[in-house]
Symmetry: D3
């Protein structure tokens, strides 16, 4: 399942058989006092492994750096520009296509990567129209998330180090969570943050967007399972149409 | 030691204290029948960890994709262009500098990355002259390598999946080596390979450049220890001159 | 109010006084049988004029080309790549800053421009931190839109040539709407359209995403007035904080 | 005739029939006290409309921003770099070709755009050799201009806000001209201005290069009619050879 | 005078004293049967040497490749794109500035280089405003050329391998001219060649634009001396104003 | 033999016959007190001429600017970035291919150009797989160099203005050597110079890396003859396999 554990002599046939390569992509980014900098990497990686198991697919080594413009001034964040991320992802995709893969599923653990992933996918599509490239960020989970929430979301699309993301971690990578340090910090995010460049230090000191103390394994499990089922279905449909 | 295990609240002081960030960088590339595609990643990562321990430094998450032009047509290889790799490494370096690091040691497990790493380092130097950026590929080990060899090198600068690299793996990441599959395959590399673009399939079918069956833990230990001492000394000298 | 009607001898003082430049940006793109290719240009332009009146600001000439990747295969669409759009917008912004403007409000009539506008704004922010750049696409109107709808939205973020957008046109640029040709065409947009490159011809033949026959002047007025109030408030707050 | 007034359902056949797309391209730039910043936009637009009528062609929405390096420090000028303009024009051209147009006539109102337009045309030619791309700046009018002049030209290729350009405006867009403010200002342009970067503030305070008070409707009519005839003939010859 | 003959130990003081670096830039391009491919290189080089003598300046080694888009399909032509030429010239200029030069005179032997040279000069000006960069192509010679001509020019700005350019060669580099092979070939260049990409094979088979048999040493001498005087004056004025 | 001496009428057949174009590429760079700034240009040019004679090939005009990052702060050095050099070499190669050449031998006189030359060669190979592009820097001479040395090399790969390079000059371009000024200056180059950006002023004031006083014509002849034989053989083998 781990692509990099394979050897070159045997991998060719396996690629032909599996057809699907999964790339976990995360970031190194501030996630409050209770979650590690690598949170998005751990989420992407663990979720990718579950997905690979279900699909009998290969998991590629995690790309552990992403676009973290909004939080780049917080301690520990490492920021890759959209331009750099786009060409890097494009190169990975192009190699996978030439190696014989026909489905390339990028499993994203960090919202900030979404723009670059979609752009890279489109560029790959323009060059290789029969190559299916997916950019997956917990697809089809919005209603489940709404359901499990005990507190209002502090923003329409952002969730970060909060009740939700911490729950994902408790389910997928609990050994990296320190719930004793979890805090409740609901920022007041103005409409202006959606319409002008707004580094997050302008509205939060902690990078926590909500009440992390409400996170539970069960909440995480509920959402992640929905995400996983959706991803499985999306990719199996594509496999069937190859 | 693992940077991504840290949290944002505590990491700032630790950066001030440690000053050194180590980036393992490898590749996904064909390494014959006995070594996995991720060989260069495992080497870079394990060596980085040893280095970090000695220096009380941070290890960043491994960048597991590199420039593998020469072997890109072998099963399993994933190739990043020099341009893409340069900008990606530059972005990582720039963030590290802004986070307060003053020494950025890139530990390379794959010769093909050398050009991009050096170019990225120079660009960082031009922009941040007080930032020490290192590109390290087993520095200062040529005489030790010559000493331990039982067979002649098949090329003046290349070594690959052979007596030497397999020995490194036996020392650093033995669980990924299958010595039963190790082969002896000495290619005849013409001078032309050094002066015109020459994908390796032109001179080898296996991607093994030598006699991998002669690899031992002891040989690997001997070279890696020299490399490690040299890296420790190089970086400590730089720390002292900050 | 129209910047390009001004002459160079008098404009300098007016820039100092007004401080705000508004750029309408739209696209040339298929909008079904009842709306013209320039729909997004007319919307952006008319809304910008209303905004300029309220703010005593300058309106720049409309940039009438945008990123229409999704609809680029439909008759009449003209597509600008994200890269080209980003540098073009950056150049406009840089000139405005050097001319003395301190607020640059881009009023967008076309969702596809959003990525490029945000990226250009961030690049301007990095270079000129005291320059406020806004990317405005009917901000803060989601609840009002939900309220006026008589039919379910066919997608969580897309609306196109439908009940909603046609209503905007009926309010802002009725002379370009031919309600006799308006159709009801609700496509079935799969989840896959959100996770893999999906030109719209895969799910619609008309480019109409909903029931355009339900559009009315009143619906348009209701939403546009909210959008306008929000834009006025956002920019006035920024003016006050200059 | 106005492309953006068309709808997607009917435009396809019309493109097949007309074959010619005309793009007015101007600039926002200082033009002295008597002409507006948008002078070059109005000229390009009005001339394009006359041309479209004669050719039964489509006029695209005006691209109202251009390369104004020389005057970029004058109040009101907005400057697009050559690089940005080239890629933007290339993208428009590429879409037009894919939409079925076979002749793309760029009607230029601003000399500073000439380099970018020619370069974009060449790039389109390299990629689509059967696509005729024209860059038109009052073609074939030099002898007529020489004839109507009452004053010597202040430069061999530049004319700006002077007897000539003001006459064009009096003919094409008189409502934007304020002849009461027209001035006579003949700069002394040294040879050095042709051989080293020379922003125009080095030789003029007004951006008027000549005696604007001598401008008349008749002079403008005379030159513009020649330009128009030449453009009509050039494009009709191309249409005939398609 | 020849910069590359100097040694590093002595050159620093000489740069301070001379202040002016002259770069001959030409092209490898078809020039008919009587002139060599390197014609533009020889012209640029010889003229640069005369200029350096007059100014006590340094001549840099000739850059012998240029932009020859129009003639790139003729036997022997080597074409550098504008983009490549711009960055290359910029790099040379930047080094010269850092070395202490304050005037950088590019002496051009090939019209096709003009766009790239001007663009590179502007970029250098933006970064180093106190650096005078000149792009010189026989400046101020149009009336003298008109005077010596026995035949009408076949184009308003082009002259190539004709009465004029051959005369320059007879004066500056006669050993490379074979007048026995000189031909008279006046092409009919349509207006279209000025408004749409037109490789020269569309109107000439020889690349000779006129009557080369009329070329003489005296004609060349007359024009080149005017060019030289103009260049000397331009640069001396700049030196005086440093 | 000199390509630029040919004329366009006759060169086509000769290209078909010769098939091989040789490009000398050097640099303008500090070479101590006894060697001129153009040393690498003279070496590349003279060696190219010898090679062309042996192969009945064409020599292109010397590209006299190269990447001299390491010595760019020394008096007289002119530095071209790798990016600029790569695109320039690519353009030359592409033209040569289109002109009918099938072997493009770049003869390098300056180690700093090696990275750009290899990268340009690879890009040409990707686009034109049947085009043989060579990057030649005294190939196959390491054992002969070791043999003739009277002093230890001061670095494993660098040699500069020393016993070796001065000997090359004494053999190939003696009129440019001033042995009376030759010095013995052996720098102490630390391992750090190989692993972090290190401008040479950090370890040498003279740019001489060894004992230039030991240089002789005979030493130069010995190595250059080996280099020449190797280059002849490499290219003849390629010609035979066309």
């Amino acid at each position: 399942m781990q692509f990099q554990y394979e050897n070159s002599f045997e991998v060719k046939d396996k690629i032909q058989e599996k057809m699907v390569a999964i790339l976990p992509i995360g970031a190194v980014e501030a996630h409050g006092p209770h979650l590690p900098l690598g949170t998005d990497n751990f989420l992407a990686e663990r979720l990718s492994e579950k997905l690979a198991e279900r699909l009998n697919a290969f998991v590629l080594p995690t790309l552990p750096y992403g676009q973290v413009w909004s939080l780049k001034n917080f301690p520990g964040s490492i920021n890759i520009s959209n331009e750099s991320l786009i060409v890097f992802l494009f190169d990975i995709g192009e190699s996978l296509y030439r190696q014989g893969f026909r489905i390339f599923a990028m499993v994203n653990g960090h919202l900030g990567n979404a723009v670059a992933m979609k752009e890279a996918a489109r560029k790959l599509y323009e060059k290789y129209p029969d190559f299916k490239v997916l950019y997956l960020f917990y697809p089809g989970t919005s209603s489940t998330v709404a359901e499990i929430r005990e507190t209002k979301s502090s923003h329409s699309t952002y969730f970060h180090a909060c009740e939700i993301e911490t729950s994902y971690m408790l389910y997928l990578a609990p050994e990296f969570v320190n719930m004793e340090k979890a805090i409740n910090d609901v920022p007041n995010i103005q409409l202006s943050a959606d319409v002008t460049p707004t580094p997050w230090e302008e509205f939060t000191e902690t990078a926590v967007l909500g009440d992390a103390t409400l996170a539970t394994y069960e909440k995480g499990e509920k959402v992640i399972k929905v995400a996983l089922e959706n991803m499985v279905k999306l990719i199996e449909d594509m496999k069937n149409s190859l």
